[in-house]
């Protein structure tokens, strides 16, 4: 991290690149073999292929490895990309930016900057006290958890690239517009007093010179950390999804989660707030619900609400924001998600 760092151990970038390329080939081969292998496996089971149990098992056997494979690839790629960014560097890019351009930049950087919800408060204070406008800071803080690689990876695996891309674009839109509105409201006075009084100089951190080997290591580390943490949730989520696939009758949910039920979108947002399951456990369930008549907009609104508006994060942010400001934050973001939900239901009815 510093210029005083000793010469690193001789680590060969070539070896790593070769190993990475080799693993990619194995990945492609595994992915290609997935559909025929799982179909063959299901046929070996002593089950009537039309039965609920066979359908549930087919879903589970095919989707579990598929999701894990795609997630591993995306998390690795994101880990490499994130090694080019740091919250400190992002802050330097955003300090003194104006509304508008600043919100767009903040939301976009929110996707690629390494961020852990446990350092949301230091990040918030660090940004605001160094001259990043409040609304721009919010755009970052909304986008970072909302558009995350786990959600994108699962959406890609289970619902296809179109839905994943729409989630990405609409998530960005919610972050940009919500931040812009909060900025326009001029709520700096609603920060806790000690936060408003704080003015800091950015620490003169020497930028680390990372080699290609270091960046590949960062990707591997991200896989170990993130996939290592979420895989039980994914398997649990797919198991529940498989149960829904196999045994819940078609169209059962059309009445309560379908597009005709206008009240289901606000209900989905409201239910999502106290839920703090990560996207990993929820998306497989959502995918299964879609097959039973739930509307896409309603389910996406639910997912966004779970990831962007989490009760534990609000408790943490209470240390720096007044209750009034938290209420505005929830209202603005919630409204944005609501619009996304209705828009989707309207477009993809």
């Amino acid at each position: 991290m510093t210029s005083t760092e000793l010469p690193a151990k001789p680590r060969s970038a070539t070896t790593r690149l070769i190993v990475t390329a080799l693993l990619l080939v194995i990945w492609v081969a595994l992915y290609a073999a997935l559909a025929p292998a799982s179909q063959w496996l299901v046929l070996q089971l002593p089950l009537d292929p039309a039965s609920g149990a066979a359908q549930a098992l087919a879903f589970f056997i095919y989707d579990t490895p598929k999701v894990l494979l795609l997630l591993t690839l995306i998390v690795f790629a994101m880990g490499v990309v994130r090694s080019f960014f740091s919250p400190e560097r992002t802050r330097a890019l955003l300090a003194g930016r104006r509304q508008g351009v600043g919100n767009v930049a903040a939301a976009t950087l929110g996707i690629v900057t390494p961020f852990c919800s446990c350092s949301a408060v230091p990040l918030f204070i660090g940004f605001v006290s160094a001259g990043v406008p409040l609304g721009v800071t919010f755009s970052f803080l909304i986008a970072a958890p909302l558009v995350n690689e786990v959600a994108l990876g699962l959406l890609l695996a289970l619902l296809g690239w179109k839905v994943a891309l729409l989630y990405l674009l609409l998530g960005l839109a919610v972050a940009i517009i919500s931040g812009a509105i909060i900025g326009r409201l001029h709520l700096e006075g609603w920060l806790e007093d000690w936060v408003r009084a704080l003015r800091t100089e950015a620490a003169p951190l020497a930028t680390a010179q990372l080699s290609i080997a270091d960046r590949i290591d960062a990707g591997v580390e991200a896989v170990r950390d993130i996939v290592g943490r979420v895989w039980p949730w994914i398997i649990g989520g797919i198991a529940v999804g498989a149960g829904i696939h196999g045994w819940v009758p078609e169209g059962l949910l059309a009445g309560i989660m379908g597009r005709e039920a206008w009240w289901s979108v606000p209900a989905a947002v409201a239910i999502g707030i106290p839920m703090y399951s990560n996207a990993a456990g929820i998306i497989p369930v959502v995918e299964a619900l879609l097959g039973k008549g739930a509307a896409l907009g309603t389910t996406l609104a639910f997912m966004m609400s779970v990831t962007a508006l989490s009760a534990p994060e609000m408790v943490i942010l209470r240390k720096v924001l007044t209750v009034r400001l938290i209420a505005v934050f929830v209202a603005v973001v919630g409204l944005g998600i609501l619009v996304v939900g209705y828009l989707f239901n309207f477009l993809f009815g």
Partner: protein
């Protein structure tokens, strides 16, 4: 005696970082005075935007994520 401060609000990574610094110092035989800074306002004064942060003799050397043990060794040797 090196004055080492680990900045962080008590998250898992911050605790790990403090333990890693201590064990690395013990291994190298460098005497250190380790202090954990958990107050958000104090942390902010060091000018970082991500935790855990590491400050050695008043100089910020690291911010965000678990530092590598080789890096810690380099900071302690400097």
């Amino acid at each position: 005696m090196k004055d080492v401060k680990v900045l962080g609000s008590g998250c898992k990574r911050c605790i790990e970082t403090a333990a890693l610094v201590q064990s690395e110092a013990d291994r190298l035989g460098v005497p250190i005075k380790l202090e954990k800074i958990t107050d958000y306002a104090e942390i902010a004064k060091y000018g970082i935007a991500s935790t855990p942060g590491v400050v050695i003799d008043g100089k910020v050397v690291h911010a965000g994520g678990l530092p590598k043990s080789e890096s810690i060794a380099a900071w302690l040797a400097a």
